[in-house]
Amino acid sequence: MKTLLTITILLFSLTSITAQADVNLKFGVYTSDKPTTMVKMFRPILNILEQEMTNKIGEPVNITLHVAKSYDQGINDLVSGQVDFARMGPASYITSKEQNSELQLLAMESKKGKKVFYGIICVQDQSPINKLTQIKGHSFAFGDKRSTIGRYLSQYQLAQQGIYARDLSSYEYLGRHDRVGTAVGAGQFDAGALKESTFKKLKAKGVKIREISRFPNVTKPWIASSNLNKKLFSTLKESLLELTDVTALKVLKKQGFLSASDDDYNIIRKSMLSNATFF
């Protein structure tokens, strides 16, 4: 009888172990860089999150990384719930939120303790252009069509200065930020918009570009899918906010996570909504 009881307990334990291994979460990003670079960037943080969450809920947590090959697919994955949580640019968040209002913000990345960082409008070093208004009549290089800095905020900035698409001799979406800086530096475009960190990196590499204007941008949000249950949501949120691992954060080139609300992205939403006026 005692033996039978022992076996039963053992079997139960095994079953519970099997049940514990079931906490599998999918984290989604889209390729703002090479997919492998994306993996390198996020895997350390995901590893820490796995550990932290496992500690918190007392069950083994596995987080797999899902890299979408495009912005659209990334947005779709989150909206449709194919990923449990995702990190995307502010613009993509706005788009996603529009498609699924039940998406919830988990946290937003901290750039040196702040929620904002800057986008740069640059010209060639030798360019006569010194201020935004002088761009009129010149060619302009944008980033991705879905990019916050690369498109919405920069076009919003130009529109604010009364420069519209038609005022530009030509413009093009070059996709990634580094391509923009490189193209400007090479003189293929008279001016271009890119994020500050990429600008600095290119400058350091010797690319002949010069800042003529800068505009604030909100750091990227980490968004939970509408499918994620509350417990996991709060644990995940908590883990993110508590995340201080320097090594992991350094790869992400961030200093931590801050609490986020949908209002933090109003400016982005505004620029996106008014984007149509640029054309």
């Binding site: 390729t31 492998t36 993996v39 895997r43 350390p44 590893n47 890299v67 090959k69």
Partner: protein, 776 residues
């Protein structure tokens, strides 16, 4: 001795072909093992290689496709997969799945090989520790395997070729380094076994030390064999020489023996006759000058007899054939007699003779009295010889005494010329005389002291001499003797003063064993003359029988007899219980050689008498051994032994020896002698016929026996020529010189008839005339 191993009849292979075969077999085995082993290794290696290729392909594919896998970029993955398959002919199929197992891309080609040649590998596509998908690759290992196998076969062929080459080289090298030298050594040894004369074997300089050692051994063997052959030749030569020398020695020895026999038989007898004649002559009326001549002649004759006896004794000693007797005797009597014998000579030279006997000296002893007497007489003779005036002192004393034996010391001191120191050293050597002057003045063989020395040594003693020139010499000897009681004394030596004819007690019973009827007749009559009765038997067998039936006191036993000889009969008698077993047995023999006495004594006989029989000696002998006698004073001539007092004038040209007849008359009776002679003639004629028969039948044994018997009786009855001829024939038979025996025997009949005719004339004339009378 083990038989030499025979070479096997089985066909043997030469060593080089055995080695070649062994190496080829080893080569095959090595190759086979290598093939199996290589196949195993190659199989593993092929799989390793495929796995390696697969892993490399995977690594390459991953590097190319990781981004596409992460982002699940299916078109790109399809392109990559198609490209990979196209560029990798061994790849059968390639399948990529995401981490959920969803197919991302797949490419394959038709499978042309069997399933066992297909290997599948599955790899997880991971990045930064996270698995993004899996890659399944299926490989056809056939081409790789074929490729590797081709390489392996090439390598194996190369190795085999190398091994064959190696084998070939090894066989050639072994042949040159080992087999060829071994062949040479074997060939050399084979030649050596046929002929030992071989030049030294030389091997090439590169020959191994072991084979060099073997060749050295073969050379040493050759040398040894040569030396052995040489030695064998030398040995054979030496052996032949030795055989010749041996034959020569044997024939020389035979000649010597024959010579000694002749000396004994033939020379001493005429000397005795000469001495007898001179003795007779001395008693006739002679002038002083004639007396001197006779005296000188007799002295020379006696000296000659002594010399001959010395030579005979010495020859016997040389041949180690002289054996001492051991009998009980009276020491005092022995020495007294010895001195008495020579006292006359001392008196003639005016020398004083003194005998000093130690009172503590035992009276009786066991030893060889005759030989002790011989030593004593020799020393005293020398003393008399070399002493012109003064005295000769003989001292006998006890030197050492213990329970069983004692040491007797005797010294003979003279006041003669003495011997200087230079000559003293070799005084006891053979043929030594002190100097030529002596040899001229004092006759002798030069053997006397040498014989004394040897006799003393035989008696476990020593002899030595002290001397001072002009003052005199002392010769001393010591000998070992055994203690005995008086009743053990069997050798009665009669003191010289008491010597006389001894007549035995008349009631004693005597048995005579003699086959020759003539001798039977003579002895019977001699005994009858002394008033004694005798029973006669014709051979040893009858004697043995007679003694068993009747209590005799003494037996006179002839040696050579038919049926059973005297020695065998004596041995048979000695087996009887007492008193018959202890009966005194006296040998009667014509064998006069010195040493015969020992032979007879050894056979169990007590004493012996020489033929022809001397009456007085016979009576003395019987009396001595029966201890029942009366003593009659007698002429001094009769005191001497028959050997030294045989007056027979033997001459082989004389058919009849009158001296013998005279002795016969003296020993028996003048009346009876003719009867004796006729009796002899009758018996001898029968013998002569038997001899003729033996000649016809070539029966040499019978011839030897009959001539011996005839010779003996012829000698006893004065048929001297017949006696000599019979002896010659007997001698030839003994020497197996049968041709000579037959030649001599053919003349026997004539000699015998003439001898019998002449002797019959004597018998008819009778012996009563004064001519036949002898001074009593």
């Amino acid at each position: 001795m083990k038989p030499a191993p025979q070479p096997s009849t089985k066909r043997r292979w030469p060593l080089w072909s055995q080695m070649a075969l062994a190496l080829v077999a080893a080569l095959l085995v090595v190759n086979l093992i290598t093939v199996i082993f290589t196949r195993h290794i190659v199989s593993d290696f092929t799989l390793d290689q495929v796995e390696e290729i697969s892993r490399s392909s995977f690594a390459l594919l991953t590097a190319t496709a990781i981004d596409a896998v992460i982002t699940e970029d299916i078109p790109l993955l399809e392109t990559i997969a198609a490209h990979s398959l196209e560029k990798t002919p061994s790849m059968i199929s390639l399948r990529m799945e995401n981490e959920q197992g969803k197919l991302l891309a797949q490419q394959s080609r038709p499978q042309t090989t069997a399933d066992d040649k297909i290997r599948s590998y599955r790899y997880a596509i991971k990045f930064e520790g996270e698995q993004f998908g899996t890659l399944n690759i299926r490989w056809d290992i056939q081409p790789i395997e074929t490729k590797i196998n081709n390489h392996v076969i090439k390598v194996q062929l190369f190795i085999s070729a190398m091994l064959i080459l190696l084998t070939l080289l090894t066989v050639i090298l072994i042949y040159w380094l080992s087999i060829r030298p071994v062949h040479r050594i074997t060939h050399y040894l084979t030649l050596l076994s046929k002929n030992s004369q071989q030049l030294p074997l030389k091997l090439p300089v590169f020959t191994s030390s072991e084979l060099e050692l073997l060749s050295t051994s073969a050379n040493e063997l050759s040398e040894m064999m040569q030396q052995q052959v040489k030695r064998e030749r030398e040995l054979l030569s030496t052996r032949e020489e030795l055989l010749i020398a041996h034959d020569e020695a044997l024939s020389a020895n035979r000649a010597k023996s024959g010579f000694l026999a002749t000396m004994s038989h033939e020379i001493r007898t005429p000397i005795n006759a000469i001495l007898g004649i001179l003795g007779l002559l001395k008693d006739t009326s002679l002038s002083e000058y004639q007396q001197q001549l006779v005296q000188t002649g007799r002295g020379s004759g006696e000296l000659l007899l002594t010399i001959i006896n010395d030579v005979l004794d010495f020859s016997k000693m040389e041949a180690d054939k002289l054996q001492l007797e051991y009998s009980g005797f009276n020491i005092h009597h022995l020495f007294a007699q010895g001195i008495e014998i020579l006292k006359h000579q001392a008196d003639e030279k005016g020398l004083t003779f003194i005998l000093i006997m130690d009172p503590g000296l035992p009276r009786y002893a066991k030893g060889d009295p005759d030989r002790i007497r011989q030593i004593l007489i020799n020393l005293i003779n020398n003393a008399i010889k070399f002493t012109a005036s003064g005295c000769i002192t003989v001292k006998v004393s006890l030197l050492k005494d213990n329970d069983e034996s004692f040491s007797l010391h005797c010294s003979v001191q003279d006041t003669g010329i003495g011997i200087d120191e230079d000559h003293l050293a070799g005084i006891f050597d053979e043929f030594t005389m002190v100097d030529q002057t002596h040899s001229r003045h004092h006759e002798g063989s030069g053997l006397g002291l040498a014989i004394c020395n040897r006799l003393v040594n035989l008696m476990q003693g020593s002899i030595y001499c002290e001397s001072e020139p002009t003052k005199g010499s002392i010769f001393s000897f010591s000998i070992q003797l055994q203690h005995i009681q008086e009743d053990e004394c069997t050798n009665i030596t009669i003191p010289i003063a008491e010597v006389a004819t001894i007549i035995p007690g008349r009631d004693i019973r005597i048995l005579l064993a003699e086959d020759n009827t003539a001798n039977q007749f003579v002895i019977k009559n001699m005994l009858k003359y002394a008033g004694l009765q005798v029973d006669i038997v014709a051979n040893g067998l009858e004697a043995v029988e007679a003694i068993r039936n009747l209590p005799y006191d003494i037996v006179l036993m002839d040696i050579s007899m038919p049926e059973m000889d005297g020695l065998t009969a004596t041995q048979e008698i000695r087996k009887y219980p007492e008193p018959a077993g202890k009966l005194p047995i006296i040998a009667i023999t014509a064998h006069a050689l010195s040493g015969d006495r020992e032979r007879f004594i050894n056979a169990g006989m007590n004493d012996y008498l020489s033929k022809p029989i001397d009456r007085d000696l016979m009576l003395n002998c019987i009396a001595r051994w029966t201890k029942d006698h009366t003593i009659h004073q007698h002429d001094e001539n009769s005191l001497q032994h028959s050997d030294t007092d045989n007056l027979q004038a033997k001459n082989e040209d004389h058919y009849v020896d009158e001296q013998v007849l005279k002795q016969l008359v003296r020993d028996t009776d003048a009346e009876i002698v003719p009867e004796i002679l006729l009796f002899y003639i009758e018996d001898a004629k029968k013998r002569s016929q038997l001899i003729s028969q033996a000649i016809t039948e070539d029966n040499f044994k019978a011839l030897e026996f009959e001539t011996h018997t005839l010779g003996s009786s012829a000698a006893a009855h004065g048929n001297e020529k017949l006696h000599q001829l019979a002896r010659k024939i007997e001698h030839s038979c003994k020497q197996y010189n049968l041709k000579q025996a037959l030649l001599e025997a053919k003349t026997l009949s004539n000699v015998a008839n003439e001898s019998f005719r002449l002797l019959a004339q004597y018998a008819n004339k009778g012996f009563k005339s004064d001519n036949w009378k002898i001074k009593e």
